[in-house]
């Protein structure tokens, strides 16, 4: 199908040609360029999204052709039980922690790199690297690093006499979520560095120089001049982190499994929806409630949409012009 559509491009484009163009072709001819992509988009995104809304109002289990209409029952059930809130709270904690990390550690490093120290390119290349490594690979790397017996962290701690700090990082109920957040931060640090750095490089040097000539200290210059001009970076990074942390799935799947062990302490919306819709480990096919899972996904989608819109509006309104 891919070949078919791509092969058709030259033929489809031709009717818009100037020489043969009537009034309609001149007016609507540009749509021929949109058509091939639109076909893909409608088939693999819009149609499934509409179908998802329909399925969420049925009692479909995911198998067979039985679509009993149940109205809003799935939504009521999803919203009326604890797991969805529990997962959302975990996502929220992840979001806040990663966000704080990005806007403190990430910003601080970006500032350091912006002073253009020696080997700056080298540091930046290294610190950005985890971003391109998949969360699956990241998860495996850290599963091994943190493993109580075969790992790196605990044996090293023991060998330097800090054995009391060696913990069951991924199975201790009080530590597991923190560990997941740490690993996510390790993977996402590069984003904050690169986005803030790009933002700072867009700030005209005259502005900071002028402030310094006027007698402002470096600290004042940063908070009064540089940082306000970094609001667009702040906005992008906040939105990116918001979407990233509420869509998280891979990292938890690998680190603590699809049931968010221990005792659902690391259960997030991604794993909850996956488990509900497709069945995770330790569940029989009876427990699989495809339509309930899709209803949850729809609720999350709508709530995220509203929060993201509000966030963008609030953050954008605080941006200033350079």
């Amino acid at each position: 199908m891919a070949e078919l559509v791509t092969g058709a491009k030259p033929i489809m484009a031709r009717p818009r040609s100037h020489r043969g163009g009537g009034r309609n072709t001149r007016k609507y001819g540009h749509l021929w360029f949109v058509a091939p992509g639109l076909i893909f988009f409608v088939a693999f995104m819009i149609y499934p999204a509409i179908f998802a809304v329909y399925v969420s109002m049925t009692g479909w289990t995911g198998l067979g052709n039985d679509f009993p209409f149940v109205g809003f029952d799935n939504f009521i059930q999803a919203l009326g039980t604890w797991p969805l809130y529990r997962a959302a709270i975990n996502n929220g904690i992840m979001f806040i922690c990663i966000l704080l990390f990005q806007h403190t550690v990430g910003l601080f490093i970006a500032v350091q790199l912006n002073t253009k120290p020696k080997f700056m390119e080298f540091y930046r290349a290294i610190l950005f690297m985890p971003v391109i490594i998949s969360l699956i690979a990241t998860g495996f790397i850290w599963t091994l690093m943190l493993s109580p017996h075969i790992g790196f962290i605990n044996p090293v701690l023991k060998s330097i006499g800090l054995g009391f700090l060696a913990k069951n990082w991924l199975s201790d109920p009080n530590l597991a979520l923190g560990t997941v957040i740490f690993v996510s931060c390790w993977n996402a640090l590069g984003w904050s560095i690169i986005i803030y750095l790009a933002g700072m490089q867009n700030i005209p040097e005259e502005l900071t120089q002028a402030a310094q000539i006027d007698g402002a200290s470096a600290w004042q210059t940063f908070w009064r001049v540089t940082f306000p001009l970094l609001w667009p970076s702040f906005t992008s990074l906040t939105i990116l982190t918001f979407i990233g942390s509420f869509r998280a799935f891979d990292v938890v799947y690998v680190l603590t499994g699809p049931i968010g062990s221990p005792a659902y302490r690391t259960d997030i919306l991604g794993t909850l929806i996956y488990r509900t819709a497709f069945g995770g480990t330790g569940q029989t096919s009876v427990d699989i409630r495809m339509s309930l899972g899709i209803a949850m996904a729809l609720i999350v989608f709508v709530v995220m949409l509203i929060i993201a819109a509000v966030l963008i509006r609030v953050l954008r309104s605080r941006e200033v012009d350079a």
Partner: protein
């Protein structure tokens, strides 16, 4: 810009400016080196771990491998089905990147004139696709792929990836296409060029930086994507590497050496490409992130 923004203000700059600058520089490098190590050590550790035997993992957790087990790689190639999933990943990523970048470029040019009918509406439609979560549409997608007879083939991944790559492509390319001077296009029209020729000869070359950004951004995502194959691909023949590795873990949970050999094989191509064209990766990924 040489002064460090976050250091405490220097009260007496004349007396000790040189020494304080030296100290600040030293602290800055220490911090950057420590952070670089936090990033690098796990990656290097994984690389060494991929050569270890199972006994070595327990007896010698953080040292170098006692014996370098190159056969971890040959065994991973066969037993962890890397011989199948690696070519799959290359093929899926290549087809999806080319497909979605090309289609996004066509769309971007098609809607580049805002006054044309539907241009703004189509732009909004495509870009709003960024917000649709995969787990919401995956099941209808599953049903659709089955109906199309693509289930169990690599096209079950390629076609959704092409569609899912479009929103970002349009987001990056549409503003670029809109900045192409109209005079250039009308001059070509006067010279008798068809719209297709204009697109191919004028618009596409001018959009090159955006095309590279789109390709890198979507390519990294497609190479690493895990959720869709987790749901639609059950056999190595139709899986890409991330899900192949996870499936392998499920059946041989103690063969850590093989697992990490697979992880190294899955990660190395992206890291190598990144080290070769670091600049393009960073600017490409940032372009998408800042606009997204």
């Amino acid at each position: 810009m040489t002064s460090l923004a976050t250091t405490p203000p220097r009260r007496r700059p004349r007396r000790s400016q040189k020494t304080s600058r030296l100290v600040v520089g030293l602290l800055r490098h220490t911090l950057l080196i420590v952070l670089s190590l936090i990033v690098l050590v796990p990656i290097v550790y994984m690389f060494f771990a991929s050569f270890k035997s199972v006994a070595d993992f327990f007896g010698n957790p953080y040292g170098l491998p006692k014996e370098w087990h190159w056969d971890n790689y040959t065994r991973a190639w066969e037993e962890a089905h890397v011989s199948i999933t690696l070519p799959n990943t290359v093929f899926v990523t290549a087809c999806s990147v080319i497909g979605s970048t090309a289609l996004a470029a066509l769309i971007a040019y098609g809607i580049s004139r805002r006054e044309k009918p539907f241009a703004i509406g189509l732009y909004t439609l495509f870009v709003s696709g960024l917000l649709v979560p995969v787990n919401m549409i995956i099941l209808p997608l599953f049903v659709l792929l089955k109906w199309l007879g693509l289930f169990g083939t690599l096209f079950a991944l390629i076609l959704p990836y092409i569609a899912l790559g479009l929103p970002l492509g349009v987001l990056i390319l549409a503003p670029l296409a809109a900045t192409i001077p109209r005079d250039l296009v009308s001059a070509a029209e006067v010279d008798g060029a068809t719209q297709w020729q204009i697109f191919w000869r004028i618009v596409l070359p001018l959009m090159k930086p955006g095309l590279i950004s789109t390709a890198i951004l979507n390519g990294v995502w497609m190479w690493n994507e895990f959720f869709i194959p987790l749901i639609v691909a059950f056999k190595p023949e139709s899986q890409t590497m991330p899900v192949g590795i996870v499936a392998f873990i499920g059946s041989y949970s103690t063969e850590w050496g093989l697992v990490f050999a697979s992880v190294v094989i899955a990660t190395a191509p992206v890291i190598l490409a990144y080290l070769l064209i670091t600049r393009q990766f960073q600017s490409g990924l940032t372009a998408g992130a800042i606009k997204g």
